[in-house]
Symmetry: C2
Subunit: 159 residues, 2 copies
């Protein structure tokens, strides 16, 4: 996707900082005409580079006081077990992410919960029910030193 240039990167960065920016304001900020800005913006959406827009929330103010990173190791994995695994993952709203990773564990999950009790219940009711699980190691976040979903677009594109 080297069809993206520095101006696209700036446009994307602006929308990462404020997803509600209007085309008019974007154009002004980037020093281009509205029409050109509109066309670029449309293109980025059509390319699927911009997938959508969402509100950024304060998890603590919403009662999400516990954030846990869980390392799961599995034994065998029949096809049926894999499908069941996948199904549970997709259905768990408290599970924010699940990655199959290199390293000691097989999966790395990110879980949000109200508190430690709530988290503990989740581990018993959901994680321990996952098929073929042989080990579950929880790492609870004690301090969130940095969290951002702002991608370094320019750097990734090599601009």
């Amino acid at each position: 996707m080297s069809q993206l240039d520095k101006i696209d990167a700036q446009l994307i960065d602006s929308l990462q900082a404020d997803g509600r920016l209007s085309i008019a304001k974007l154009a002004e900020r980037l020093g281009m005409s509205e029409a050109t800005c509109w066309r670029r913006h449309k293109r980025l959406e059509e390319l699927g580079v911009i997938e959508g827009y969402q509100a950024t929330l304060n998890r603590r103010k919403l009662g999400g006081n516990v954030l846990a990173f869980v390392q799961i190791t599995c034994t065998q994995h029949s096809e049926a077990a894999t499908a069941e695994f996948e199904r549970i993952i997709q259905a768990s709203s408290r599970m924010l992410s699940c990655h199959n990773t290199t390293g000691e564990a097989d999966f790395l999950l990110q879980i949000i919960a109200q508190d430690l009790d709530d988290y503990s219940r989740f581990v018993e009711k959901v994680l321990r029910q996952l098929p073929g699980v042989s080990s579950i190691r929880s790492n609870i976040s004690l301090r969130e030193m940095k969290t951002t979903s702002h991608l370094p677009v320019g750097e990734l594109l090599g601009l």
Copy 2:
């Protein structure tokens, strides 16, 4: 924050799904008048429950092909070292998150990079320069089975 009710949760959920929804459309979707919707929305922003809005990007289409989870263990930590640690973390645009966690490692980081070469360079130039680091274990994402930043608002609020 139990001052939030089911309607607030619905409103927030809608804005998690589409952060660009206008008040008019939100109101229609939730079956309330525009004025009421506007007032609730404003309140949620003032309370800091909604912190902002941002575009959701496709990291692969932007050249972010490698996502790594890194476990870092430290030795001692003088005050100066801690400050330096913090500074580097905040300054690293490729570092998306850093949590001080329970468990074997001290910190869990999330890094995005163009490819493995780029990632390797980052580890050498940034992570190995962190003061007091005694161990670095990398877990590269092989398969992103689930990733969402959509918080289960209703559940967290107990509604």
